[in-house]
């Protein structure tokens, strides 16, 4: 039985990240968005009371909590108080899955407020997988890990990122949130073929796509989430879609948030590419 069928993972279609400037638009009837993703921590600040701010959206949309602070790869133990609050938020939202990043974000109790890549070794894959299992046991819902964009590679890595990503997912028995833009960014920064990365992933574990914009800084590419999706990422997305089954997709934009109509048009474009790629694959 595959990961998706075992956990009855639904296909949600095309969604957007919930951002304050778009609240009124998303509360209009027929906003044309199938689901929303929220940053989990934004609704954990006041002991979960703020999660009620999502009530009007929860009446209309499935809401998927996406975290940035689990810090699965940190040598620090998982923060049990954080997990307890996260569980309350998740239970309230009742999502079909939740997600965070395959990275580390703090050390010695201090937070670095960034998503930092890990050295890719079997030991570290096993360590992170154990932590993911712990998280899944605590929360009791299907969990996805997202690949982060990166700008450094470690001398002591024993395998490419895609092998590490797949190994962690298999050992932890979790799903994958495949950020297509992050694959592109890391591929440019580390000179690998992005399709080598994507074809190496376990097909049945890919549950969700992130698509976002980036900045080309000349000597490297920066994952900025503040620009429209670039053509090279659309092209990579079109190549990705036929490899996996039904996978929910969403557009991420964190800065320079455009008007709703503009972001919605980008989401519709993603949906068109997705549909076209599926049709072409079956033809």
């Amino acid at each position: 039985m595959t990961f998706k069928s075992r956990y009855h993972i639904p296909y949600l279609g095309a969604g957007l990240g919930l951002r304050a400037p778009h609240y009124p638009d998303l509360l209009q009837p027929n906003a044309g968005v199938s689901w929303l993703e929220v940053i989990s921590e934004n609704f954990m600040l006041d002991g979960t009371q703020s999660v009620h701010r999502l009530d009007p959206f929860l009446e209309r949309y499935p809401i998927i909590p996406h975290g940035v602070s689990l810090s699965l790869g940190s040598v620090d133990a998982l923060d049990k108080s954080y997990l307890k609050t996260l569980k309350k938020v998740i239970n309230y939202l009742n999502p079909p899955w939740f997600s965070d990043h395959l990275c580390w974000a703090g050390y010695g109790g201090a937070h670095l407020h960034n998503l930092l890549p890990l050295p890719y070794t079997a030991d570290i894959a096993a360590y992170v997988a154990d932590k993911i299992r712990y998280v899944q046991d605590e929360i009791g819902r299907p969990f996805l890990i997202e690949n982060v964009s990166s700008y450094v590679e470690y001398l002591d890595s024993q395998m490419p990122e895609w092998e590490f990503y797949a190994m962690v997912a298999e050992k932890a028995d979790c799903g994958l949130l495949l950020d297509v833009n992050n694959v592109y960014v890391s591929a440019r920064n580390h000179q690998f073929d992005p399709m080598t990365y994507i074809t190496a992933l376990p097909q049945d574990r890919v549950v969700q796509y992130h698509i976002a914009g980036h900045l080309d800084k000349g000597t490297f590419v920066l994952d900025s989430h503040d620009h429209p999706v670039r053509d090279e990422v659309w092209a990579l997305f079109a190549q990705t879609v036929p490899l996996f089954g039904d996978v929910s997709l969403m557009i991420e934009r964190d800065d320079h948030i455009p008007p709703f109509a503009e972001l919605k048009a980008e989401m519709d474009h993603a949906q068109e590419i997705y549909t076209q790629a599926k049709v072409s694959a079956t033809a």
Partner: protein, 267 residues
Amino acid sequence: MPQPDPPQLLQDVQAWFSRLRFAANAESQAQWMDQADQFLTASTTMSARERLDVYVTDYWPRCLDSLADDFPHLRRFLGERDFSNWMIRYLESCPSRSYSLYYLPTQLPQFFDENYHHADRAFVLGLLRYEWAVAQAGFVAQKPAFSTQGLSESEKQSLASRRFTFQPHVFIEKFDYDFQLWIDKGTAKKTKKSQTHLLIFRVAAEVKITVISAVQWQLYTYLKQGSTLATAIELAIKSAPENDLIALETQLSTWMSEAMQFGIWVA
């Protein structure tokens, strides 16, 4: 299920990177940057050190921007350069311990109290406390509010002996300066001393800043310290000047109903 022990390689990488990341200036960063080649590879376009720098340069602006958002008026008073210097000193001394940048200033009042000894110390410490209260009122917990609805008759009769707990987002503050007036004027100069009492709290998603009288501040302070309503009133009467005493007698019921209306007490 126990949490696993981390591999040594992770310990080494993260200890090194964290020391580098929390070093605020080029001089203190240098010794850690010099170790880049021991941990990282170069690419065809960038050295290991240049690649590392992408992460290092990102941390300080992110934290400083967050603090600037929370303390816009302190920033205006101190000026851009001094504000940044003080915040960098603070972050070096007190790295972020929360998953959220909202909590970045948690130790800032204490840090300034211990380290800021200029002539305008009282003004700066007061302004910092004012802006931090306003910021916290915007995001800390809202618990179910106390209401007299649903209370039995005997419970209503015994309200005087009740101890009231304020919502975590309620701040009962006394300042030696009228910061609201100073902010409205938009001046960068320190204002004259003028004692003000403020009630800072949140209703729905909006932070409200209300000027209260000295006696109301005293009454709420006694309540916050754990006195029953009857004791708090008694103590406030004892400490109030005669003019305020009249206000206490005539406005007590108004304050009580406003407190109920705005839900500032926890059920």
